[in-house]
């Protein structure tokens, strides 16, 4: 099975409100006793494309195996796509849009 490398989108009040309005509050997973996140999956090709496009982002290869430090506006765009499409499987569409 191919490895999955999530982009963690941490849920602030604004994002929570959008999820609730779309009836998607259950899509957020709990983390660290008090946080909520959307873990948007990427495969290795999508991960590499994201890291190339946004060099300030970091793949945390040592600890979490997740893509972190994407600019907030990029995460907002991915988040809005998740809400509009009602699925976490948005990375092909996102990459096609940039």
């Amino acid at each position: 099975m191919a490895e999955i490398y999530p982009i963690n989108i941490w849920i602030n009040e604004e994002r929570l409100s959008k999820l609730q309005r779309a009836g998607l509050a259950d899509m957020a997973e709990e983390a660290f006793a008090g946080l909520k996140k959307l873990a948007v999956p990427t495969n290795d090709k999508q991960r590499d494309a994201i890291l190339k496009k946004y060099p300030m982002a970091k793949f945390d290869s040592a600890t979490t195996k997740s893509i972190e430090l994407l600019p907030r506006e990029v995460k907002d765009k991915i988040f809005d796509m998740v809400v509009a499409k009602k699925t976490l499987d948005v990375m092909d569409s996102f990459l096609a849009s940039i």
Binding site: N12, F32, M56, T63
Partner: protein, 415 residues
């Protein structure tokens, strides 16, 4: 190879002290006829040599020394040393200044006399070989290799003397403890055992527990937090936030008074993984530490080194006279309901690992991390530091890089 006792503390048996009082420094400067401006990285390396952080190294390395360090991980004297300390220069600068072996150079920084160098050697070295030997790779995307390849084509070797000690600017001044000073302070506090924690990060509770675990494991009197202050990359925490938040762990009682001290080490990280771990051990031994904690992926970058490469290398070197506390990671476990040690917690599937990068990501998203993984006092201070020192951001921006208050200021000196 000469047999030496690597366990001696300081490394080599004697703390290097090559710092002159300004009056004597001025006299020495007058004898140096050739002025050579240096950059911030050379300036801080000169400080580290002169104040004894790099004992027994007394200057920038010559060809034999660099070759020995690269190929054998030893100085020519036989003492273990893992990272070359070099002074690069271009052929055109050598010609323009008329540099020749035997000269005494006046090194200037911030347009002021700063140090002298007895020029013993002008040489070339194969930078690809240096990269391969020190970093285990020749890929330029490795930040240490990038530093190596960015070196100009020639090198100067020779002993240095700091003739105009710089002022350490706030907020770093409170945390500047050269080895002699720190050893004196530890003696006054009655600390017989001190365990070092190397950091370039704002502390989350995983770091806090690493330090506390190392304190237990080494039966130490105190934890010395040694914050690396040096070259920054966009998106890193600003240096001021790192230093102040570590100090805050002691000030707000997460460490009992007298068990925790924050200090700075002026050094541009090379991300040399296991080789840098050896270097860190030697520098902290020189500071008077009896132990050094090494966690997962110490001084690593990307996937160049195995997560515990820094642990493995200590079995390949002689006793360095500083105990290595080799530790696994601390994670959050929702079953245990706490941050707990991965070597003891059996809830592997449920465990939630976290890292400094992940915490930065949470903060960048405008979310306050829960206190179980990030102390609220630390969070507040991170944000305050961003306002006070980071032009509104606790993370390094191009504005911070261009306008930040310098860590050191060289006083005016008439020569």
């Amino acid at each position: 190879m000469t047999e030496v006792n690597n366990a001696l503390s300081p490394h080599g048996g004697k703390l290097v002290d090559r710092v002159l009082e300004p009056a004597k420094g001025r006299e020495k400067a007058k004898k140096a006829k050739i002025k050579l401006p240096i950059d911030g990285s050379r300036a801080t390396e000169i400080m580290s040599i002169a104040y004894g952080f790099f004992s027994p190294v007394e200057g920038f390395m010559g060809h034999k020394e660099v070759d020995s360090v690269c190929k054998d991980m030893r100085l020519t004297s036989g003492y273990i040393w893992s990272i070359p300390i070099t002074f690069d220069i271009s052929e055109s600068e050598i010609k323009a200044k008329g540099l020749k072996e035997g000269d005494t150079l006046l090194l200037t920084y911030q347009n002021q006399p700063f140090a002298t160098m007895e020029l013993e050697e002008i040489f070339s070295y194969d930078k690809t070989l240096m990269a391969q030997k020190v970093y285990g790779t020749t890929e330029e995307k490795h930040p240490g290799v990038k530093i190596t390849y960015a070196c100009k084509d020639r090198f100067l070797g020779g002993k240095i003397t700091l003739i105009n000690p710089p002022k350490i600017n706030p907020p770093f001044d409170k945390y500047w403890y050269p080895p002699k000073v720190l050893r004196q302070k530890a003696a006054e506090l009655g600390w017989k055992k001190m365990v070092a924690h190397q950091t370039r990060n704002v502390p989350h509770t995983g770091h806090e527990w690493l330090m506390k675990g190392a304190w237990f494991a080494s039966s130490a009197d105190a934890v010395l937090v040694s914050c690396v202050v040096g070259e920054k990359r966009a998106g890193d925490y600003i240096d001021e936030a790192i230093v102040l938040t570590h100090d805050a762990l002691g000030q707000t009682g997460y460490f009992r008074k007298g068990t925790h001290l924050t200090s700075i080490l002026l050094w541009d990280m090379r991300y040399a993984g296991p080789k840098e771990a050896i270097f860190h051990a030697i520098v902290r031994k020189n500071l008077g530490c009896t132990h050094h904690m090494f966690g997962r992926d110490h001084a690593g970058v990307g996937t160049y080194y195995s997560p515990y490469a820094a642990h493995e290398i200590f079995s390949q070197v002689p006793d360095l006279g500083i105990g290595s506390v080799l530790t696994l990671e601390w994670w959050y476990c929702p079953v245990c309901g706490e941050v707990t040690y991965s070597g003891l917690c059996g809830h592997d599937k449920e465990s939630q690992a976290f890292s400094g990068t992940l915490i930065r990501s949470i903060i960048q998203d405008g979310v306050k991390p829960p206190r179980l993984i990030f102390r609220p006092e630390v969070f507040d201070l991170v944000m305050e530091s961003g306002e006070k020192y980071g032009f509104g951001s606790p993370f390094v921006t191009s504005e911070y890089l261009a306008k930040r208050n310098p860590v050191i200021t060289v006083p005016a000196m008439e020569v």
